[in-house]
């Protein structure tokens, strides 16, 4: 019947014109110039995190007491700190720490939160109530205070910062995934899958989870930004990374003592944190528009 004719030569064009959800996403993402810039910046950051260590002109713990708290110069692009260490090198090397802390903490939080959200949303009842009440409790604390409390209990150190940040990003994901699950649970295509005889696991991971993926990705990106900020704040307060680690928050904290005389010591670490967090947020916004669930225009 319809097979007989697929509209002549026009059909040939249509045949080759395939749009997948991914290609659609890329097309929409490309339209957002600032998000593309942010993505580019983040890619550069990741490269720096991976290989920066081998490129920097000075070692991170190379003391030079002849050049203490010098301003930016050709030799020291970002100036030096109170021990004469090159700030540029320290910030470059700190990239890895900040990104690693942010990414690992949010990954843990996202995985835990997603699983909890899926279970709570899909099965409902007592499971859901327990999960959501725990989330409500965690939401009742401001994030940074919660993180301080956790670090205070576990002791300071980068590892514990990761745990603290993971714990406080979990409920965000749980709540998000739960609401998507609730909506998708009643969608016709999930009912259609049930009608085919699909098991709960199949429905959850093949139909509902992919439907929640766009939201998870957007939230993930945004959370990485705020986690880097939280981790830096903890280090700034002396509860995270310990000297002489070149963590950005710690650099900022050190520089603070000399702010009046040597502004560069706070300016550059601050700028690093600021730009990184900003680009993650812009990227998140861009992804949100690109991943609009209504795949059509």
């Amino acid at each position: 019947m319809a097979k007989k004719k697929t509209s002549g030569s026009a059909g040939m064009n249509e045949r080759t014109d395939i749009k997948t959800p991914v290609s659609e996403m890329i097309r929409k993402f490309k339209k957002q110039k600032n998000a593309v810039v942010a993505l580019f910046f983040i890619i550069v950051l990741v490269i720096i995190a991976l290989v920066g260590e081998y490129l920097v002109p000075f070692g991170i713990n190379e003391y030079d007491y002849s050049a203490i708290l010098q301003g930016p110069s050709m030799a020291h692009w970002f100036g030096t700190d109170e021990f004469g260490r090159d700030l540029f090198s320290r910030i470059i090397c700190g990239t890895r720490i900040s990104l690693a802390v942010g990414l690992s903490a949010v990954t843990v939080g996202a995985v835990c939160g997603t699983v909890l959200g899926l279970l709570g949303g899909y099965y409902g009842g007592i499971v859901d109530s327990i999960i959501m009440r725990i989330c409500d409790t965690l939401f009742a604390f401001p994030g940074i205070i919660l993180a301080i409390a956790i670090v205070a209990i576990l002791g300071s150190g980068l590892g514990n910062v990761v745990i603290a940040v993971a714990v406080f990003s979990t409920p965000t994901f749980a709540r998000l995934v739960r609401s998507r699950t609730l909506a998708l649970k009643h969608s016709v295509f999930v009912q259609a899958a049930r009608n085919l005889g699909a098991s709960d696991a199949r429905i959850l991971f093949r139909h509902i989870l992919p439907g929640a993926f766009p939201e998870i990705i957007v939230q993930f990106t945004m959370s990485v930004g705020s986690s880097i900020l939280t981790a830096s704040s903890l280090s700034f307060l002396g509860m995270g990374a310990q000297p002489p680690t070149p963590e950005w928050g710690l650099l900022l904290s050190n520089g603070r003592n000399y702010m009046l005389t040597s502004l560069h010591a706070t300016l550059f670490p601050g700028l690093a944190i600021f730009l990184t967090v900003l680009s993650f947020n812009i990227l998140g916004d861009g992804l949100r528009d690109a991943l609009d669930p209504k795949l059509t225009d």
């Binding site: 319809a2 007989k4 509209s7 064009n13 097309r27």
Partner: protein, 331 residues
């Protein structure tokens, strides 16, 4: 059939395009028709035929979308309304032209009482006191045949059933006695028994108020019941135009014939329905010649290459098909 009635609405060579980021979509591509005073013109077409975009262009409701009238004229009582300011368009809407939509709930304000909505609509266009407006609204609502009018004036849209909401919409559209009522699939969301009620009501009110109606629908059965004249649209063009009797008696465009054949008819036994093969072409890959040629069983080489113009079949019956070239319209 010499018709001396005045033309209320004339649409001439209307082109409406939507500017998307991956190209321009011509939704309406050279549409002509006239609506005579006191008559009902049906525009029939399937989704993607451009029938709704035509109505939005007439209403001036394309602002805020990527759509734009790029060419052509829309004349209301001889005055062009396609190229006037938004403010002027706004004044026309509800006063001179009004519209009812398929889903009445989306066009009623959910948090405003029915009476208030009707009254506001009157006060926008007429300088009368609130009390008079209220009275007028109540009268209009009574004409639409809803029960317990006084109570309904103080109710919210969600308290009404689908049929009642559509009656309220009709009351709101007609309360300022517009010259033209555009009805875009007004009964598609309703059940058959309610649809019958609403069609009846529209026919009666048309006579009483003297409004001309532009009736947009996909349902040929509804067209046969309410329209005086019909324009069949396909891919942004009118392909056949006639008064309702000659159209159903002598459908000349293969598309019109196909449409009529596709509807299962009550009391008629058939193992298989006639079918128009294929789908409406993707607007990005419009065929070159006649837009219907790829789905047409009678298409010739010429149809693939060249788009036909209108051929007159007499009595105001025109058809855009090469088969009618000799004025034939053979069956």
């Amino acid at each position: 059939m010499a018709d001396t009635r005045k033309n209320v609405l004339e649409v001439k060579n209307l082109h409406t395009c939507f500017f998307m980021d991956d190209g321009v979509v011509k939704s309406v591509d050279g549409v002509d028709f006239t609506l005579k005073e006191g008559s009902t013109l049906g525009i029939v077409g399937e989704s993607g035929s451009g029938k709704s975009v035509t109505s939005l262009s007439i209403m001036g409701l394309l602002t805020g979308t990527t759509g734009k009238v790029t060419e052509g004229e829309i004349l209301l009582d001889g005055k062009d309304i396609a190229h006037i300011s938004n403010e002027e368009k706004r004044r026309l809407r509800g006063g001179q032209i009004s519209m009812i939509f398929q889903e009445p709930m989306t066009s009623l304000n959910p948090v405003m009482k029915i009476g208030k909505q009707l009254t506001e609509c009157i006060l926008q266009h007429e300088k009368i006191s609130k009390k008079e407006a209220w009275q007028k609204a109540e009268d209009m609502l009574r004409k639409t045949g809803v029960p317990r009018v006084e109570r309904m004036m103080n109710e919210y849209p969600f308290q009404l059933s689908g049929g009642q909401r559509q009656r309220v919409m009709i009351a709101m559209a007609l309360v300022c006695r517009p010259r033209i009522l555009i009805a875009d699939e007004p009964t598609t969301a309703l059940d058959v028994t309610i649809q019958a009620q609403i069609l009846d009501l529209m026919n009666n009110l048309k006579k009483e108020i003297g409004t001309s109606i532009l009736f947009i629908t996909h349902d040929l059965g509804v067209v046969a019941e309410v329209c005086d004249e019909v324009a069949v649209m396909y891919c942004g063009r009118v392909v056949e135009k006639a008064d309702v009797y000659s159209l159903f008696e002598n459908p000349s465009h293969p598309y019109t014939r196909g449409l009529l054949g596709s509807i299962p008819k009550l009391g008629e036994e058939a193992d298989e329905l006639e079918v128009i093969p294929g789908n409406v072409p993707n607007p990005k890959y419009m065929p070159k010649g006649c837009k219907f040629a790829p789905r047409c069983s009678m298409a010739t080489e010429k149809c693939q290459e060249e788009e036909p113009g209108f051929f007159d079949l007499g009595g105001g019956h025109t058809c855009r098909c090469w088969l009618c070239e000799k004025g034939g319209g053979e069956k």
